[in-house]
């Protein structure tokens, strides 16, 4: 119990220490503090996971203290909101991923950010992020979950804008914060709605209710689930609110790896998986989730095809992989979704961190059109990157293969999805392999297009954490996570006839994609400089490519629909109408002052007369 109670709070200690002592701590001490506290969390979560897997414990829960009480409007019942943690298989997996991957990324970050003058602040924010994320995952009720939810949002904002002196970074941080805020608002409305309907916000109570006799009308359930989905969509950068994620790459690379690939952006997936009993009650919303997932994965994949910045490509690929998870949730393939979440955390962290190492080695060059030939120049990093990409395109044998096949395999038969989703997912997988190959050919093959020296980094920490991630990405698929205690398969399964060629097609898709790109991107592969420069130019000149490059125009759409009108209203109302009214009161007060003060002239006879007149007036008014 104590282990569980303490688990999320270790990094908080380090956060407090780092904030309190700032630069008085040497680099070594600061990184030891911040990394060990995360290690403590990781070890405790590993221990708890072991207990859950091999002992006869299915859930663990610990109640720390009562936070506050809520009173229901209608009945007047009080409901306690506790700071309480709840650990079952699902949250155990999430905790392990968050703290484990978090630990590796912390190791990497300690080495990677060594030279930064604000190293302490950086590590402190990273620690705070882990605290919030662990709270989110372990929360026993939705209010505590929301605390963690907002906490990770705050840390994401702080870390995207970590180099806030560059205006673009600050703008990106603002954008991420505001857009996720839209989702958060939907979430909080959903929570309040849920509370007023069911008088409880405890996850277990809600799930038990949902498993038994669901007391709410269909319409109410629809609205509640759609509001919760709104929160998830905002946090996980899915379709209507996806535009913040690519810009969020303005943050330091470990941040992109930890927050915007491995952990925080999957919070939405976690929320839906956590509340899946409630979501099952509303099949329309399940289908909607599936549509959101599949559209996002296609849009993100198409956008990734024309990007030039290595981190943006990875960001779009993150979006599309989360799209897969959403699709799986929509199809009711809960455990496949969570499994993919875990595997994705491994290989995407690996990809981002390797990309970070490459960028560092190339003097902060992020444009893949200016890289080239890295296979020879950075062989170790290239090998790591290949492993990551292999997982991403789900080559057989890698962990990505297991998780993605699990998702795709569920789609055809699912009552809330169906063959069309299966086909779209296959197309998505095809696109994934194409953009992965494009990235690889441009950056790693051919010859160096810019003659710059390689910065040698001798970080043992960097290499060590990357190697561990490589091992996890390669063999993570063999990790057996058994989530049957948490998720029951959809009961209303209609056994549709499944064609026999499905699996072969799914397995073959990545290879088709690779073969296709081998042929179509041969100029990139061979390193034809003029062709490459031409195609770099064409991103700006070719209208279709430019449209794809800008994320299918969502940004400009939102600018025209929301930002411009808002700015217009703000501009029109610069002289704040309400303010004018308020100032009118002040003006009247001054006027009254002047009138009344002119009566205070210090003359006794005048005062006596005024007394009498006042009395007469008062009595007169009373008589009338």
């Amino acid at each position: 119990m104590m282990i569980l109670a303490w688990l999320p709070f270790y990094p908080l200690i380090s956060f407090a220490l780092l904030i309190a002592f700032q630069r008085q701590l040497s680099w070594k001490l600061a990184s030891v503090i911040s990394v060990t506290t995360v290690l403590l969390s990781a070890l405790s979560s590993g221990y708890l996971m072991w207990q859950l897997s091999f002992n006869d414990v299915t859930t663990l829960s610990v109640n720390l203290w009562q936070w506050f009480t809520l009173t229901s409007f209608d009945t007047g019942d009080t409901h306690q909101v506790n700071i309480a943690f709840y650990l079952d298989r699902l949250s155990a997996v999430m905790v392990c991923v968050v703290s484990g991957v978090g630990f590796l990324i912390h190791c990497f970050a300690a080495a990677y950010m060594k030279e930064d003058p604000h190293f302490h602040r950086f590590m402190a924010y990273m620690n705070l992020f882990l605290v919030a994320m662990l709270l989110l995952v372990l929360a026993d009720n939705l209010v505590l979950l929301y605390l963690g939810w907002e906490g990770v949002g705050l840390c994401s904002f702080l870390l995207i804008g970590f180099w806030y002196k560059v205006p673009e970074n600050a703008a990106a941080a603002r954008k991420a914060f505001i857009i996720t805020r839209i989702g958060d608002t939907a979430l909080v409305i959903g929570l309040l709605f849920l509370f007023t309907s069911l008088n409880s916000l405890e996850i277990n109570t809600l799930n038990t209710l949902a498993q038994g006799e669901w007391p709410l009308t269909e319409q109410r359930t629809f609205w509640i689930t759609i509001l919760l989905l709104g929160g998830a969509v905002g946090k996980s950068a899915q379709l209507p609110l996806q535009t913040w994620l690519p810009d969020a790459m303005a943050g330091p690379t470990p941040v992109s790896a930890l927050i915007h690939a491995a952990t925080m952006v999957t919070a939405g997936v976690y929320l839906i998986a956590r509340m899946h009993h409630v979501f099952i009650q509303s099949p329309e919303v399940m289908t909607l989730i599936a549509w959101i997932g599949v559209l996002t994965l296609l849009i993100a994949g198409i956008t990734a095809l024309v990007q030039s910045d290595i981190k943006r490509i990875l960001a779009y690929s993150t979006m599309s992989q989360i799209g897969y998870m959403m699709l799986a949730l929509g199809a009711g393939a809960w455990s496949a979704s969570v499994f993919h979440l875990m595997i994705h955390a491994f290989f995407k962290a690996l990809l981002f961190l390797t990309a970070g190492a490459v960028i560092y080695a190339l003097h902060h060059q992020q444009n893949i059109f200016k890289m080239g030939g890295l296979l020879k120049r950075l062989p170790v990093e290239s090998a790591f990157f290949i492993v990551g990409l292999a997982c991403l395109v789900a080559l057989p044998g890698t962990s990505g293969f297991f998780s993605k096949e699990a998702i795709i395999g569920h789609l055809w038969q699912s009552p809330t999805a169906g063959p069309i989703f299966w086909w779209l997912a296959i197309i998505g997988a095809l696109i994934t392999s194409i953009y992965s190959c494009r990235l690889f050919f441009l950056a790693f093959m051919g010859s160096a297009r810019e003659n710059i020296s390689i910065v040698k980094s001798d970080g043992v920490l960097i290499k060590a954490s990357l190697s561990l991630l490589v091992i996890l990405s390669l063999f993570g698929g063999w990790l057996n996570i058994d989530l049957t205690t948490v998720f029951q398969p959809l009961t209303t399964q209609v056994m549709k006839q499944e064609p026999s060629w499905l699996h072969s097609v799914a397995v073959a898709t990545p290879f088709i994609g690779i073969a296709f790109s081998w042929w179509i991107f041969r100029e990139y592969r061979l390193g034809n400089s003029t062709k490459i420069a031409q195609s770099y130019q064409s991103i700006q000149t070719n209208r279709v490519k430019r449209w794809c490059y800008s994320g299918l125009g969502f940004d400009s759409l939102y600018t025209h629909l929301v930002v411009t009108p808002f700015m217009f209203i703000a501009k029109v109302n610069r002289k704040d109408l309400i303010d004018q009214l308020v100032m009118l009161c002040a003006w009247y007060a001054k006027l009254l002052r002047d009138v009344a003060a002119s009566l205070q002239n210090g003359l006794l006879r005048w005062y006596a007369a005024a007394f009498a007149c006042g009395l007469m007036l008062w009595l007169g008014a009373w008589l009338v």
Binding site: C585, A589, R593, Q600, Y607, W618
Partner: protein, 475 residues
């Protein structure tokens, strides 16, 4: 009359005895120190006696007086104010050469007058207390006859106060002519319909309203506040007003008067008085430079706020209203003690006589932070910012107004408080203005003790009202 009846009157009797002893003392030996300490002792003994009496069952002492816990606690506030006033005067009179024994005598007489007022249950005793208070205050306001304005101020107060009491007497006579009684309790509910009785009641209110400086009877206030010696201004602001208000409240809460007040026309007339006082008082204080004038105008507004408690009807609300009056007056008292105490100190340091301007406060936070802090807390309390006593006082008023559906009064209270920020906050800002003044300021242990007691009281009552003050108000 049994012994118990006399026992409950002990505080007033003690003060009266103190007055007599004071006279004897003066004829025996004239000394600045002795008389001051003696007065302090009298007040201290009376305070102890009053505190020990709180909670005794209420008793009629003859037909004239009615002593219950309400009037005892109110008298306790008056005594505390008197104690503070003597303490301030000690510091203030120190700088003058004469022996000022009459000053202390008059002060004790004022306290005695207030004591009669808070216990009165009869128009005769009310008038007695009223006049005792007024006459001794006339003496006090003009006491330093060599100072500029002293005579002028004293005359203004004398003449206006006399005309006010004549109006009041006329009102009482009208009431008597219709009810045949001067006792509050014998006021008949039937006579409420009578036009003469109603006019009499309003004239009576006008007389008291003069003392409370409600608009439109407020004209004397700023001039007298400004021209009087600072401790006397303090007495005017606290003892005189609290006692008057308590007397009015005792009168209002009697059943006979309740039916009178419940009449819409009377109710409207009283509400109008309160609302105009809140708004005009606060507006007048805007843009003033003289601190005592600001306090004068703000006192108009505060009395206006307090009028809310007189306009409640239901029996339960009256119970709460009594607590509210006492609490509000206590908060007001503490804030005034703090401000006037510091004013006396500053006047002595800077040697500016009576005319203390806002500019004398400039940058005080930087060279004497403790005094500035006391002032800030007191001003915040007058504004009614949470964690000060004033907030809880105002909170009581708002609850009462809301529960009794006195919406116009509540709106005026809120608007008035908003306007009040327009002069209280600049006073606080003034304390923080950077100015390089190297003031020599003496802080003896006595001043420090005095200041810290005030500070702790005003914060303590705001944070822990239950512990400090509520036990006194549970009757």
């Amino acid at each position: 009359m049994s012994l118990n009846t006399w026992l409950l009157l002990t505080p007033q009797l003690l003060v009266a005895l103190g007055v007599v002893c004071c006279l004897l003392l003066i004829s025996w030996q004239r000394s600045q120190q002795i008389i001051a300490w003696f007065t302090l002792m009298v007040l201290l003994v009376t305070i102890v006696a009053t505190v020990s009496l709180v909670g005794q069952p209420a008793v009629h002492v003859t037909e004239l007086l009615y002593v219950d816990s309400f009037s005892l606690v109110a008298f306790l506030w008056v005594l505390l104010a008197g104690f503070a006033a003597v303490y301030m005067s000690k510091a203030y009179l120190h700088s003058h050469l004469e022996v000022h024994d009459e000053f202390y005598l008059l002060l004790l007489l004022t306290v005695l007058g207030a004591g009669v007022l808070v216990a009165s249950d009869h128009f005769a005793s009310l008038f007695l207390g009223f006049e005792l208070l007024s006459i001794s205050l006339v003496g006090l306001t003009g006491y330093f006859r060599h100072q500029r304005h002293a005579i002028e101020v004293s005359f203004k107060y004398l003449i206006l106060s006399a005309s006010a009491s004549s109006f009041m007497l006329l009102g009482i006579a009208f009431l008597y002519s219709q009810t045949g009684s001067l006792s509050f309790v014998q006021m008949q509910a039937e006579s409420a319909d009578n036009m003469i009785a109603q006019i009499g009641f309003l004239l009576f209110i006008a007389g008291i309203g003069f003392k409370l400086s409600l608009v439109p009877f407020h004209f004397w206030t700023p001039d007298v506040y400004q021209g009087s010696p600072t401790p006397v201004t303090f007495v005017l602001a606290t003892i005189s007003k609290s006692a008057m208000f308590i007397a009015l409240a005792k009168c209002f809460y009697v059943e006979g008067f309740q039916t009178l007040i419940a009449l819409p026309s009377i109710h409207h007339a009283l509400s109008a008085l309160a609302i105009i006082s809140m708004i005009v008082g606060n507006c007048l204080a805007l843009g003033q430079n003289n601190i005592k004038r600001i306090l004068a105008f703000s006192s108009i507004a505060h009395m206006g706020y307090l009028m809310i408690v007189l306009l409640v009807h239901q029996q339960q609300a009256i119970l709460l209203a009594r607590q509210a009056v006492l609490f509000y007056l206590f908060a007001y008292l503490i804030a005034n003690i703090a401000i006037f105490g510091v004013l006396v100190l500053i006047e002595r340091e800077r040697n500016v006589g009576n005319n203390i301007e806002l500019s004398h406060w400039k940058g005080m936070f930087w060279y004497s932070p403790i005094k500035a802090l006391v002032l800030i807390v007191a001003l915040l309390s007058l504004i009614g910012i949470p964690l000060t006593a004033g907030f809880i006082g105002k909170f009581y008023l708002i609850i009462l107004a809301a529960n009794n559906a006195l919406w116009p009064l509540l709106i005026a209270l809120i608007v008035g408080s908003g306007i009040a920020l327009g002069y209280y906050l600049p006073m606080i800002f003034q304390l923080f203005k950077k100015e390089v003044v190297t003031m020599s300021h003496m802080t003896t242990w006595r001043i420090r003790l005095w200041i810290s007691v005030i500070f702790l009281l005003s914060i303590g009552v705001g944070i822990l009202p239950d512990m400090i003050i509520t036990p006194l108000l549970n009757f």
